[in-house]
Every structure is written in C-alpha cells, then in structure tokens.
C-alpha cells in the first residue's frame, strides 16, 4: 500500500517513455490491474489508475493478446463493481473501448470485444431508465458514446441495427436522447455510404437497411477493406468540386426522408456541438441520396444563420459548400458573406472566433466559384465591404496580421492596375498603417510589436513589392530606422532572406541590403558605438553574401573602424566582436569580386593578425590571410564554401556556432585525410615502348655484309664507348611503365580523383631518390593513365619501393593513400647496349667482343678487380633454347643462327656502368650460357635470373608435352 499512485500515474502521463525506462509496460500493467481488483482501493484512485489505459492503451497493450487479456480483466472488474461506483464504471467502459479498439481486438473480432459490444448494447436498450433507474443514466450515456466511437472506428459495425437504433432514439425522452441521436446518425451515414459502394443498390436495399435489426457487422473491420476506403472515416469531400458517391433510389425514399425530417425537428433539443455534428452527418446523407432534396434543411436555415454559436454557423457554411444554389439563393450568399464580415470584427466575439471567421471569408464557399485554390477572395467581397476589416493599431497582433493579409488581397488589383504609379487609396492606407506600425515599434514597442511589424512588412512586400513608390520608400524608412535601432539587425536580415526566397525575380532584398550597406558605411564614425558595430557586422556579413553588391565600401569602413586612432576595438580584443569581423572577411573571401578586394582584405586580415587583442582571432585572421594569399580562387572557394548554402543559412542564425562550424569546415578542407585502405595501385605494363628504335632491316643486312670487318675497328668503337661511359650525362636511368588504376576497394567517393601526386620511397641505398609523379586525374570510368617511373640506380640491384599518393576528391577534400610496395626485379634494370643511334650491328658486335675479351683477360689473370666470367648449363631442347634466346631479344647483338657457332651474343647494360655479356651456345642437347661481367657482384643475380627463366621453360615444356 506504500505505492503513491497519484504521483506514479502523473509521472506516467507526463512522460510515458521516461516512466517506462524505470519499469516495463508489462509490469506496470500488471500492477494497475492488481490494484484495480483490490477492494481496499477507493474509487477515485481506481479512476486515476484507468487513465494510462484510457490514454495510452497502445503502450500498455501492444498486441491483440495483451489487449484481450486486459479487456477480460477490466470486464471482470466492471462486473464486480458496486452499482454505486458510477464514475468508476463509466471510466471502465471508456478504458475498455480504448483498449479493444487500439489493440486491434475489435478488428480481429475477439470474444472480449464481442462480449463488450453485447454489454454496451444491453445497457443502451434500457431507455427512459425503466429497469436500472435514473441514477445510472450517466452509465447509459457513456455506453452510447462507446458504441458511437466503435462505429466511428469501424464504420458499418452497426449498419444492420438501424431500426433498433432509430427506435431507441425515438423512445428516449430524457436528456440522453442526444446520445442516441448521435449514435443513430453516424450509423445511418455509414450504412448509406456502404450502400453507395454496393453495385446496383437501390431503393429496396435502402429500405431494408433502415428496417434492419440484425447483429453486428464484424466483417467490415477487416483491415484491408478498412484501409482502402478512407471515405468511411472522413466526411465526403463536400462542395461542388468534390465527388460524392450517390445512391440511386429513384423518387422513392420516403422512409429516409421522414427519418431525416424527424432528426432535424429534434435537432433543436441538442446542444450546439451535437446539433452541428448531426447537421454535418445529415448533409452527407442528403448529398449521397439525390432523391432527398437539400431543401429539407430550409426550415432550419434562418435559425442557423442568426446563431451566435461558431460551430452552428460553421456547419451552415459547410452545408452551403455541399449544396450551393440548390439550397442557398444569391441573396443568402450575399447575406452570409456580410454576416461573416460583421462577425469578423464584432466586439462581443473572442479573438479566436473572429480569426476563424476571417479564414472562412478567405475560403468562402461560393455558389459559382470562379477559381479554386488557396485563399481566393469571394467575388462579392468588395473593397467597400472589406473596409470594415482594415487593420488598425488597436488590433492585437494576430488579428492585425490576418486583416492585413485579407486587405492586401482585396487591394491586390489596385496594385496591379497601377504598377508604376501610386496605387489606390486602399493601398495607400495599408502603407500608412505599415509606417504607423514602424513608428509605434520605434517607440519602445514590445518584442511582439517588432515581430508583427516585420511580418506585416513581409505581407506588404509579398503583394505590392512591384509598386515602386512604396517599396522604395520602405527601404529608406527601414534604413533610417536601423541606424536608430541597430538591435533589429536580425529581423532585417530575416526579411531580406525571406523576400529573396519568395520573390526571386524582385531585386528588393538586394536593394535593401545595398541601402543598409550605404547607411552603415556612410554614417559618421564618431557616433558609432560598440553595440552598433556588432550589429553592423551582422548586416555587413549578410551584404557580403551578395555577389552583385560591391564590397569596397564595407572593407574601407571596417579598416577605418579598426585602425582609427581612437579605436579601442583591437586593444580590447573582444572575442565575439573579432568573430563578427572574421565573419565578414570569411564571406568576402568567397565574393566574386575578390580579385579587386585582394589588397584591402589582405590589409584588414594582416592588421587583425598583428594587432587584435585575442589570440584565437589572430590565429583565424592569419589563417584567412594565408588562405587568401596562397590558395587559388577555386581551392579557396572550395575550402570556404564547405557545407553548402543551406547550412550556411542555418548557421547564420546562430552566430556563435558559425564560428565553430567555420573552424571545423576549414579543418576538413585543409587537412589531408587518410584512406583506410589503398585505393590506388600501379600495374606494370608488359610491353614497354622501346627506348631506342630497333635496328632496321637495312642495318641488319649491313651487319651481315660487314661481318668480317677488322678487329681494329671494334677496338675503336670500344674506346669511344668507354669514353662515353665515363661522361656524366650518359644513360643512367631505367624507365618503368605502369598503369595507375583503382584497387578493388569500391567507394564511390573515390570515383573521380584529381591532382594525384605519387611519391616513392627507397628501401635501400642502391638507387637515387625518386622524384614525385603527377597525374592530372583518374576516373573510374575512363582508361587508366600511364605512369613512367624513372629510376637512377647507384648499384644495379633489384629493389623495392614504397609508394603513396596524395589526391583530391570531387568534393575538394585532400587524401593520402599508401600503395602496395613496388618491386623492381633484376631484369627490369637491363638496358640494351646504349651505343650511338647510328651504330650498326657490326659495330655493336665489335664492342661486345672487345668488352668480352677485356673481361676474360682480366679474369684469366686471376686479377679479379671487378670482372668475372661464369658458365651456366642446362639441358634444353631446341624449342626451349629458341624461347630462351627470345627472352634476350632486346639485348641481342647477334642472331640465333649463331647458336652453334660463335654463340648467340647478348649484352645487358645495367646503369650506371655495369655490363653483363652472355654467349649462348648449344652443345648437343645442352645449352651453355657463358657469362662475362665487369661487376662480379651481379653474378648471383644473373644466376638466379637464368635459373628463373630456364625453370619457366622447363615447366612450359612439361606442360606442352603433357
């Protein structure tokens, strides 16, 4: 009993989500049900306990089964209740309705919902308190309302019980007849609607429906059908434009007509709210059944037109929308409109009512509407009639704006007729009113008045921006006002923004900003206060966003303010003010006329960097200065414009957070980001373009013809070659070709890459530093670009290079990504004999022989300086030998035909200065490769190279044999 239920329940209603954090819906539900069954708890507490079920049944009963169980519990509590506990029993009925409907028990036609419906129906049949007595009347009334809600959520449920409902309604003489009337009218409306949806339904079906007294129609609740037919739940789209389904009954619909008549006759006995609801239902029924003429409502019309109740007059208007001139004459229409105008300014009505009536004027249901759409004035609303609604200074804000809007529409034509002139008197009045508002606002007007003035200005401009004499005068007045009331800067900026958004064509906003800039920059500096300057910065920042407005004046104003001798601005070092200044600078950095602003802007930034009394501002200014002076326009724009215009607009609102986002954006723009995985790779090109032209056939022939030239000549060439070798500019590079492509990692962000810079790092000291390679762009959709990597060996050994890339993505961000290591293999270092271009094969042969003999002689002397000879043997058939020799194609000095004579001569030049010479001979089944090199350290590499290729050949041979 220690539980403080009132507190718990109110905690739950305040915030169910928070409450259920500390417990679960299941536990809470169990606790509630247990307490409800507890006899010791009093009724007040129990009513309170029901409120979670009443208001949030879906939270507590999330499924049909939980709903069903809960409903059964509640029904048993209901059954055990003392008959005196009226309030509790009423609330139990309401809670049961909520639970059963919201947990879809009714839709699923569960037994609890069937039982509940029976209970309700039984209660309602006790008309005139014959059985239970007058004391339980509230219970009966609640039961009727529960049934009505069930029918509202499951239209058609009671459609087969119309006769019974009609009888109950007629029998009941206590105040409860209202509840029966509401129930009957709704069931009738739904039944008629369902008949209109039945093919071929007619008078007989209607008669049968009206006389039906069968069970409940559960099938209607099937969710699919329920979903598809919204019209069941919503009133039929009424009015001449809407399509209303009709039930063709022929002239015979006496029963329905008399039913409607009797309902209408008794409508007077209902409360205004119920009366209006009944009328609404009857209007729907009559519009569905053409056999019943709308004139059936005529007798009620005068009473309704004269009513002081907003809901009754409203239902009359809706009736007019539904039946137009079949019920309302032209006089009625004119009268109704005049009535609405007079009610819209009636001293006895409340403001919400008056505003609602004004809205009704804007959507007046005309008998013959000229156009349909939003907010059209009825033709009958003449300026003379509307004059009753002109806005005055005595109106409250909401009424004033509603009137301003309405009258703007009334005078719209005045503005149209006289585009360049004065406009009419009505327009003059509206403008006068606007200026009076401005005047009032300046005289210590409240915040509400300020907002109202700017809203009225917006409305005025929206309608009459093109009437020059007013729109220009307004700019002047706003500027004058601004200098007196600089605190209104955010409102002015907001007005400019909104007019620019809404009236794209009009240059009004631009003109206003220009004028504000002029007012600010031309005002005498001596009168400038710090507070004014803060607001000026807001305005100037907004002005700087306009590409069409020249910004020199802004800059010279700012420069003169911060550099003036009397200025303590810089010394004070106010952080927020500094940020205001930077805010302007930031926008200027993006301004299209930046080129012409370069010097003054740089001056300003430099001044801030050097003299502003706040380090953060100094840093920012320095950053901006650096950006301004070093980045290209495009990159600058990219860096500064991060985030797009929407975010910019949003950020403008919160000046403080702008700085934060600015910083963040800048950081993003200027940082080089690291990709998680390599996104690029280099793919080796298989057939490199030949560095030097292959000896042509002519020189080949020459070589053949001159094969027997004198050895002296070879010596000569050798000497000249040796001399060349020593010269500094001699061929010392190898060039490797790759394709730069994307790796398999797919990220659309990297589809288009720009300004790619490849960087290579050495892993040993055998090579000179490799210079970076630039690639303009790489698109996933295009052919990969070729990249030439030039290596300058110090020692011609194989090596591994580390590679990485820096690039820019489409959104302007810079990225760093490492690539897979590049392996430079031994044969990739080979170059052909780098003799002069014109050398014949003969001459090359001479050099070969010279170098060979030199190495051999040195080697045979045992005088191992650097030279060395070696022999490599393998067993290969002719085919394989042929293949082997073909491997040396680029480096061959002599033909394969010499394999069995002097041997096929091959010369590898390995920059910077090494040579490897091969003589390939076939001796019987064996192949002998005689090796001579002037760099003995290369021997192991040569060996493994030869082993590699012969191994490949063996494998290939085996494969081909197999």
């Amino acid at each position: 009993m220690s539980v403080n239920w009132p507190e718990r329940i109110s905690a739950f209603s305040r915030s169910p989500s928070q409450f259920l954090c500390s417990t679960t819906a299941e536990i809470f539900l169990t606790e509630i049900l247990r307490e409800l069954r507890d006899d010791r708890a009093n009724d007040l507490i129990k009513v309170l306990l029901l409120s979670p079920l009443l208001e949030h049944p879906t939270l507590l009963c999330p499924s049909v089964s939980v709903g069903e169980e809960t409903a059964l519990e509640l029904m048993s509590v209901f059954a055990q209740c003392s008959p005196k506990s009226l309030q509790l029993r009423c609330h139990l009925l309401l809670a049961l309705t909520s639970v059963l409907l919201c947990s879809s028990c009714v839709t699923s036609c569960t037994s609890a919902s069937q039982d509940f419906l029976d209970v309700l129906f039984q209660m309602t049949q006790d008309t005139n308190d014959l059985q239970a007595g007058a004391a339980v009347r509230p219970l009966r009334s609640t039961a009727c309302d529960c049934l009505r809600e069930l029918e509202a959520c499951h239209p058609g449920l009671l459609s087969q019980r119309l006769e019974l409902l009609s009888n109950l309604r007629q029998q009941e003489n206590s105040r409860l007849h209202q509840a029966y009337t509401g129930l009957h009218a709704l069931a009738l409306r739904n039944a008629v609607y369902l008949l209109t949806q039945q093919k071929g339904a007619g008078a007989e079906d209607l008669k049968a429906a009206l006389g039906s007294s069968e069970g409940f129609v559960w099938a209607r609740g099937a969710d699919s059908e329920f979903h598809s037919d919204m019209a069941l739940l919503s009133p039929l789209t009424l009015g001449p434009m809407g399509r209303v389904p009709t039930l063709q009954t022929g002239p015979d619909s006496k029963e329905l007509r008399s039913l409607i008549s009797s309902l209408l006759e008794e409508s007077y006995l209902l409360t205004s709210l119920s009366q209006a609801a009944l009328l609404q239902k009857l209007v729907e029924i009559v519009s569905m059944v053409p056999a019943v003429s709308p004139t059936i409502f005529r007798a009620q019309l005068l009473r309704l037109l004269g009513t002081c109740e907003v809901c009754l007059l409203h239902s009359t208007l809706l009736m007019k929308a539904a039946f137009t001139d079949s019920l309302f004459s032209a006089e009625d229409e004119a009268y109704l409109l005049k009535r609405l105008v007079s009610l819209s300014q009636h001293p006895l009505l409340s403001t919400p009512e008056k505003l609602f009536y004004m809205d009704c004027i804007l959507h007046f249901p005309e008998n013959r509407p000229i156009s349909c759409g939003d907010e059209n004035l009825p033709v009958l609303l003449t300026p003379r009639l509307a004059a009753a609604l002109v806005p005055t200074l005595f109106n409250d804000s909401a009424s004033m704006l509603a009137r301003f809007n309405l009258l703007s529409l009334v005078y719209l034509e005045e503005g149209e007729e006289d585009r360049d002139g004065q406009g009419g008197r009505g327009l003059a009045y509206l403008y006068d009113h606007l200026t009076s508002l401005l005047h009032v606002m300046e005289n210590q007007g409240s915040r509400e008045m300020v907002v109202t003035f700017f809203r009225a200005s917006f409305l005025f401009l929206l309608h009459f921006c093109h009437v020059k004499c007013y729109s220009e005068d307004l700019i002047q007045r706003l500027c004058d006002m601004y200098l007196r009331q600089t605190r209104l800067a955010p409102h002015l900026i907001n007005l400019a923004d909104r007019i620019q958004d809404r009236l794209v064509e009009s240059g009004w906003a631009l003109a206003l900003l220009r004028a504000l800039q002029r007012s600010i920059t031309e005002a005498p500096l001596s009168q400038l206060t710090l507070q004014d300057f803060r607001w000026h910065l807001r305005i100037l920042a907004r002005v700087a966003e306009e590409g069409e407005v020249p910004q020199r004046a802004t800059l010279s104003f700012l420069l003169s303010v911060i550099t003036s001798n009397s200025s303590v601005l810089c010394v004070s070092g106010d952080w927020r003010l500094g940020n205001g200044l930077l805010g302007v600078c930031r926008r200027l950095l993006l301004h299209p006329s930046l080129d012409s602003l370069l010097t003054p802007l740089a001056d300003l930034l430099q001044y801030l960097t050097c003299y502003y009394g706040d380090t953060d501002i100094q840093d920012h200014a320095r950053l901006y200065y650096t950006l301004l002076t070093t980045l290209s326009r495009e990159k600058l724009a990219g860096v500064m414009a991060q985030g797009g215009p929407e975010r910019g607009r949003q950020a403008k609102v919160h000046s403080l957070s702008t700085i934060m986002t600015e910083t963040e954006e800048l950081t993003t723009g200027l940082t080089v980001h690291q990709t998680e995985e390599p996104v690029l790779r280099l793919v080796k090109l298989d057939s490199p373009e030949p560095d030097a032209p292959e000896p042509d056939s002519k020189s080949h022939n020459e070589a053949n013809s001159e094969s027997n030239s004198s050895p002296r000549r070879g010596l000569e060439e050798r000497e000249s070659y040796r001399a060349k070798l020593q010269s500094p500019g001699f061929v010392s590079e190898i060039t490797l070709q790759y394709h730069l492509t994307h790796t398999g990692v797919y990220d659309p962000h990297f589809d288009k890459l720009f300004s790619i810079r490849l960087h290579f790092g050495l892993t040993d000291s055998n090579y000179e530093e490799v210079s970076d390679i630039s690639v303009p762009c790489l698109f996933r959709t295009r052919k990969p670009p070729a990249v030439k990597l030039r290596l300058k060996p110090k020692q011609p050994y194989p090596t591994t290079l580390r590679a990485s890339a820096v690039f820019t993505t489409e959104d302007g961000l810079s990225w760093h990504s490492s690539l897979a290591d590049l392996h430079v293999t031994f044969p990739e270092v080979f170059l052909p004999l780098p003799g002069p271009l014109g050398w014949t094969r003969e001459q090359k042969n001479g050099v070969f022989e010279e170098i060979w003999s030199e190495i051999s002689s040195v080697a045979s002397k045992g005088d191992l300086d650097n030279g060395a000879t070696s022999l490599f043997c393998d067993q290969l058939d002719n085919w394989a030998v042929d293949k082997l020799v073909r491997n040396f194609q680029r480096y061959r000095i002599s033909d394969c035909s010499e394999l069995d004579k002097g041997g096929c001569k091959v010369l590898f030049f390995l920059p910077p200065q090494s040579h490897v010479l091969l003589r390939v001979l076939t001796v019987e089944e064996n192949v002998q490769v005689h090796i001579a090199t002037d760099n003995w350290k290369l021997l192991p590499y040569i060996n493994s190279y030869l082993e590699d290729i012969t191994k490949d050949l063996h494998t290939a041979q085996v494969n081909s044999d197999g």
């Binding site: 009347r137 509202a152 003489n173 004269g306 109740e309 909401a398 009045y429």
Partner: protein
Amino acid sequence: MSVRALWIITHEKGESVAVQFSRRYPTVEHRAKFLAGSLYVTVPEDGAVLQLLLTELGLSDPDKPYMALRDDCFHQQHSPALELHVEGPGGGVLWPMLAISQGPLILACLPLVDAPAESRPPLASLFSVSQGLTLLAGLQAFLLGSKGKPDSEGLASRLAMMPFILLQVCPLGTPLDIPQPGASTAPAVPTPAGTQKQPAWKTGLHRGRAVVNVALTEMVRSMQYGNQSRQDLWDVYGTVTCKCEVEGVLPNVTVTLTLPPNGSPLLDVQVHPCVSSLDASILTATSVEDCDSSAFSGPYKFPFSPPLEPFRLCSYTSQVPVPPILGTYQLKEEDNQLCLTVSLKLHESVKNGFEYCEAHLPFFNRNQMGNVNVKVTSGQLDVSKEKNLLVWVIGQKFPKSREVSLEGAVGFSGQLPGPTDPLCTDLTAYIKLHFRVPDMTLSGCCVDQHSVQVYSSAKPRIVTSRELLSSEYYIWNSTGTAPLSSGHMML
C-alpha cells in the same frame, strides 16, 4: 469532428509555464493514423508539446530578442490554428493545433483532420475546427469561473474536476457539450424521463414560482479626435441577458425588443441557440453596409425555450446619430509643463443621471507628475497614487448647462519615470471616459415588461432592466497625432 488531444497550460507572463492537465484520445489517434497513412505525425509527450506551443505563440525564451524559429517574418501565424514542427523520427507538422489564451491560461487541442492527407485542406473546411474552438472556449469559461479571472485556488479545484467534466462533455474525443459554469462533480439528481423530450442543454427542471429576468445592456464606444480632418467615431452594441425560472420541460417564452419611432434599426443580430424561430427581417440589417431608411426597425420578437442558467438571449449593434458625451482635449507643452484644456458636453438626449462618470487622463513616457495646478468646473480631481494619472470624478450629474470643463497645467518634475506606452508619445494623449447610466439605452431599444410572454400555467413575475455603459470611450488630444481606429473614413 473529434479532437486527438487536449492541453491546459498555465503561465505567468511567459514564465513558470506548466502543463496543468492533458488528455489524449487514443481511439481518435487510431483514426488519425489510418487517415494520414505515411504522413502521420505522432503527438509528442507533453513537455515537447508545451515547448513547441510556446514557440508558436511567441512566448518561448522571453529574454531573447530574436529567435529564428519564433520570430521569422515568413512564419505567418494562422491563429487560432497553429503549426507545431515536431522534430525527430515520426516528426513533421502537427496541424491545426488550436490554441486560445486568456490571462494565465492557455488551452489547446488538436482536432482530427478527417480529410485525405495528401494536401492540406483549408481550415474553414474542417468541421472539427469549430468544434474544437467551441470546446476550448467552453472549458476556458469554466476554468476562469464567473469572475472571468481565475484565483489560484478556484483554478486548482476546477482543474481537479477536469476528468469528470470531460467524462460528460468529451468522453472519447468527440465534443458533446461544454461544461456549465457552475458544474460540479456530483451529478445533479436526474429528472425522471417524462413524456416530452427534455432538451439536452437543460440540466434539470425548475419547480416553484416563475420568474423571468430580462436585462438589456448597451455599451458605447467612441473615438473623438476634435479634428476637422478626422471624423469622430462611435458605435453601440447591446446584449440581452435572461434568467428564466419557468416550470415545464420545454416552456415557451417570447421576449420582444422595441425601438422608438425613427430609431435606427438593430444590426448584426445574433441569437442564442435556444431561440426556436427567427424572422428573416430581424437578421437582414448589418453594420458593414449602409442602412437604408426603410429597413425593418422592430418589433424584434424572440421566441425561445429557456435553459435553467442565465444566458445571453441576443446581441446587436447599432449606429446612433450622436455620441452621448462629446469632448475636446487640448494639450500644449509650455515651460516644462503641459497645459490642459478639456471640455465635455452631455448630449441633451441622454438622461442626466449617472451611477458614476469619470474621466481618466493618463500620461505616458514622462516622469511622475510634480505640481498639478488644475481647476474643474464640476466634480473633483484626484491624482493617482502612482502619479501618472489624473482622475476627474464628474459624479452623478452634469450641471444644468450639461457642460463641464477642466483647465490647468501639470508639471512632470517627479523623480521616477512613469509608465511607457508605444502609442502615446509626444503630444499623442487621450482621455478615457468611464460611465454608467442606468435605465437607458442609446439606441432607444427596450424590453417592455408587458411584452414578455410566458406560456405556462402560473403567472410569472417579470423583471426587466436596461443600462448604458461606456467601453473604449476615448477623446484624443487634438494638438497631437492620434492613431486611427478604423479605415472607414479613409476609404
């Protein structure tokens, strides 16, 4: 025609705001979900609703001069139907949130938009809007009590009654009735059902002596400028309040209003829903167009069957040829003080017998008054405690000449600044008249005791009364610029 949820909020000038009571109608919400389909917007929890509502009403963050969400000029409030911009998942625009506020009370409800969700229907086409407005206004009247101003105790006790009140007037989201001003939790002893249908708006039956009380109150408004270029304005509006204690389930009573010969016709007549029938001629005249002299001018018959409580049978407006009191007000600024000249003239057609008649002369945007050297030809002059208001008590009668005047000078040498007002700057100043004349109306409209007909067995006692009251009766200083109160004369 139902509401999805209902809130009652209290605040003190935008501060210490709290949701005092809220009620959600899940079955209506269930329908809203079906109707809106994918465009359904959940109603947030009370705290969030409160914040959004305050923003829309311009009451949030009163210390911030500008907030984009609240003060955007583009954001035209279509009061009383507000848009709540709900953020987060399931968010969107909740519309139309109806809100009415008076004093410290804000009442709001969210009517069901029972129309296809694709395009927003005009407010005027939603039946549930006028239902919601009526419900809110009824609850407001109930919560404010008979005085129209809540005392905190009374408010608390009435708030505690809300669950029981709603059980009667709006049990499942469909408004059925509005609470009676004196409603209590204890259900009235029900009258046994008889053979005649009892009106649903009649809570019980009267037993005892029949008494019919008909009170006619006329209010007169005026704006007088004392200026050739500005036409003075005045108008009259009247209400007839009845309290009928008559036996029977549906007794018939007829009240007839009559005008004197040549009296200008009653305009904009509105009647209580208990009026059973109306003649078309009663309704035709409206204030928004020129009356033609041949218009119907009575007698105005109102047959009705009364409810038990006092009720406003009908109201009207009228355009009378002259204002009851014509005044002039002139101010001159001289030597740091204001010279005042006021004269008031009571029209000869008006009965010279007031319950009270006072002229208030407030001074804004100045320091407190110092020396007051003012003479009046009749009545007496008081300076208010705050020293910013002269109260000229003219009393029960104007002198024989029917003219009174005031002359003198006021200095504003006080130390403290007086109240401010954005309208009354420089020489823009006004006199406001407060008076009550019993037993007369300006329009001449009256309810003759003998014209009240009651069709019942016992002869009833019939009491009628009438009075004229001032309301917004201003006389502006003719040497300053006075604000316009109507565009009629301009257009």
